[in-house]
Amino acid sequence: MPVLALDAGNALFKTLADGQDPAAKPRAELLLEQLDAQGYAAMAVGQRDLVLGVDFLKKKTKGTKLKLVSANLVDAKGQPLFPASVVTTVGGLKVGIVGVSPASADPKAPAGSSDGTAFLPEGVRGLPVAPAVTAEVKRLRQKEQVQLVVLLAAVPYVEAVKLAQGAEGVDFVVQSHDGRGVGMAQRQGVSTLVPPGERGRQVAKLEVSVDGTGPFADLSEANRARESQRMVEANIARVQERLKAEKNEDTRRSLQETLASFESRRDALARTAEAQGPATGRTYLLTYLQLGTDVASDAAVQKQVERVEPPGSAGH
């Protein structure tokens, strides 16, 4: 199946104070090189990607296939610092990928306020998120005629939820900012919010099938129902076997009650599977690929990693 790899941002630095760490720059450079080498099409610019400034990001991605995207980051004169989106066709589907970064925090706001904004470096301003996304999505849908829109939202969770609830024309919102880790894809208003995992420990795999228009349906609930249905059917078969052999009337009655309860559960699960799982239309299935020690490392990349972080060092 055709694959499109995307990063939702906040990939490059551990903390906002990372600029003081001499290993931070080679680490960020290696990450950008590898995102490009591994075929990523786009990455949103998050607050923690700006630690070494915009020029560092632009220099390191000049001429690469990997595109850094942000619909709302502007310079001091109000000029966009990055393209708002990229459009690519994969598997016959024209996909629009929009990036969005946090809106600038009010310098007078109390520290730690959770209004969905963030402090950005000097000379970088984050415009309000929703209008920037709405304008770009409208352009992609009307002018570019894309069939699928993915929003890489390198913004606080609270802001991403608001976006998912109101961003008409966005199919999936992939949120990255607070390190929330793995989770379930959740329908929020008009689009679906997807957690991408964290700290290089997993990759979120979203299998998408597009046939026509309309909202996407989640196949995972139907799959879970079918799995449970199979388990209940196995239990039913075991109870029926016991019933055949059982002579004691009391035990038979008890088994018959158990059987009735299992059959009722099986029927309920079948109804759930049927209601949730249209075989056609627009569907998705989210799973995670865990990148544990059981996944082999690429030897050449491993060498590069060890040059930056030798085995036994604090970060390794």
Binding site: M1, P2, V3, L4, A5, L6, D7, A8, N10, A11, L12, F13, K14, D18, A24, R27, A28, L31, V90, G91, G92, L93, V95, Q147, L148, V150, L152, A154, F172, V174, Q175, S176, H177, G179, R180, V194, P196, G197, E198, R199, G200, R201, V203, A204, K205, L206, E207, V208, S209, V210, D211, T280, L291, T293, V305, V308, E309, A314, G315, H316
Partner: protein, 44 residues
């Protein structure tokens, strides 16, 4: 039934088949990462 009917049906099938094939759902795998936080050796 007119003797022409089967040929017409065959022609219709022939012409409609590519449309049916073209209408197959488009499938795509989207791989997402995020919040990597500068991690290059995630065992640490």
């Amino acid at each position: 039934m007119s003797p022409r009917a089967p040929r017409l049906a065959a022609l219709a099938l022939l012409l409609l088949l590519p449309m049916v094939a073209g209408a197959a759902p488009k499938k795509l795998v989207l791989l997402f990462t995020g919040d990597n936080g500068g991690e290059i050796a995630p065992c640490g």
